[in-house]
Symmetry: C2
Subunit: 249 residues, 2 copies
């Protein structure tokens, strides 16, 4: 059986947010939900802006409403590795931890629906269903991280690029509620540099591999940031793992 779609019907629907909050399910106690709804606030960040610095104290938790944010770790000499990619409806921040372990950076303009940490944590303590929901989300993130480890450790540059395109296509489709199939078209929400940080490559290699996939006809580059996939299965083949990447339930 396939993984549940990213936006389940039972996720909390804010009055004003255009997304459903992955972290908060409709089975939470209504009075608590109402309280949460009352204390939420919105904040936007410009492209490139750092939302949280690694090591810094974090005072808020929330969900990405629009835009894309990245989690990354940096070595003292500047080598950087992305370790998480946050799309709309994804949860930001870690309940129960005071200091942030990674930089959180806006990849483009990002809007976040946020709650003060103490308020949210109090709600979590009082709401077992919410705690369970957080556990499930974290387990899914762990699976994604481990899939990513396979990519970083063992895939070729070409396979890495194809895998990233599959991941973006799949998440994009899930957000829009559309089916994945031939003729798929989507925007790349990441610069070449962000892609290289994601994949453990240099920007030059990213660029070359995109050109190579284009030359092979696996993708069509409408412009640098828009991709069309004439044959989705062909792209999956290029990604190396015959599993379609859907997690097993």
């Amino acid at each position: 059986m396939k993984h549940a779609p990213l936006i389940a019907q039972n996720h909390m629907r804010c009055a004003d947010c255009p997304i459903r909050h992955k972290a908060v399910c409709a089975y939470c106690e209504p009075p608590e939900l109402a309280k949460l709804d009352a204390i939420k606030s919105y904040k936007t960040y410009r492209a490139g802006e750092t939302i949280v610095w690694a090591g810094q104290e974090v005072e808020v938790l929330g969900s990405v409403v629009s835009g894309v944010a990245t989690l990354s770790r940096t070595l003292p000499d500047g080598r950087r590795q992305m370790v998480g990619l946050l799309l709309p409806s994804d949860f930001v921040g870690r309940p129960g931890r005071k200091l942030a372990p990674y930089d959180v950076v806006a990849a483009n303009e990002v809007m976040i629906c946020q709650f003060l940490k103490p308020d949210f944590e109090k709600l979590v303590s009082n709401t077992p269903a919410l705690e369970r929901r957080l556990l499930d989300m974290t387990l899914d993130e762990l699976d994604a991280a481990r899939e990513w480890m396979l990519l970083l450790g063992r895939k070729t540059a070409r396979e890495k690029l194809a895998s990233l395109l599959v991941i973006i296509a799949r998440r994009e489709a899930a957000l829009n509620g559309t089916e994945i199939g031939d003729g798929l078209r989507f925007a790349l929400p990441l610069t070449r540099e962000a892609m290289s940080d994601y994949l453990g490559l240099t920007i030059e290699t990213v660029s070359r591999q995109i050109s190579a996939l284009k030359k092979s006809g696996v993708i069509i580059l409408e412009d640098a940031r828009h991709i069309r996939v004439p044959d989705y299965i062909a792209l999956l083949d290029e990604a190396g793992d015959d599993s379609d990447g859907g997690y097993i339930s």
Copy 2:
């Protein structure tokens, strides 16, 4: 503040297990704990034996009592990447998921204290403290996975080897309750092949980098499976990241 030691005082102490169970804390309801204790059983696996096949249905959950087990993902053409390393007191299996997403393999002789999945899951549902404990453990695993991603994506072969030695030394010390310092001596619980799967390298490169670290005097190889570290700080330096790898609380 540093991460709590791997074996906290409040973890459940089985009557007969020589370890404390990381997953189960002493704050769980005593009657439920007693019930769990009543249904536990032990099973041992030989070195190299597969404990769980990826894709297979899993019927048990439990803790590693002795030995070392690995989680790994394999590409269709045989390329393999280790994605998890389970030492004594670590939890095996995923509550709430029917099929295993990875192979679990015994790296050497492994003993597991296990519970039937339905029993354990029922206990989890009835015990909020246990659910919270599982969430914390999973978040820690996620942090470890992300640290590992940095290693796989951006570190050199030499840094990878040094990092692995630091990780093994630290976990070994935590298990024995000893301090990490100069003159540290420990056994490698992994073959060169398992190390190469962990680090995304070939066995030849692993062997060469160990030889290189030996030649530089960073480590002393007593024999192929026993390491002595004359200067722990020097080893940390070789690992590349100046953070000591302890997670931030």
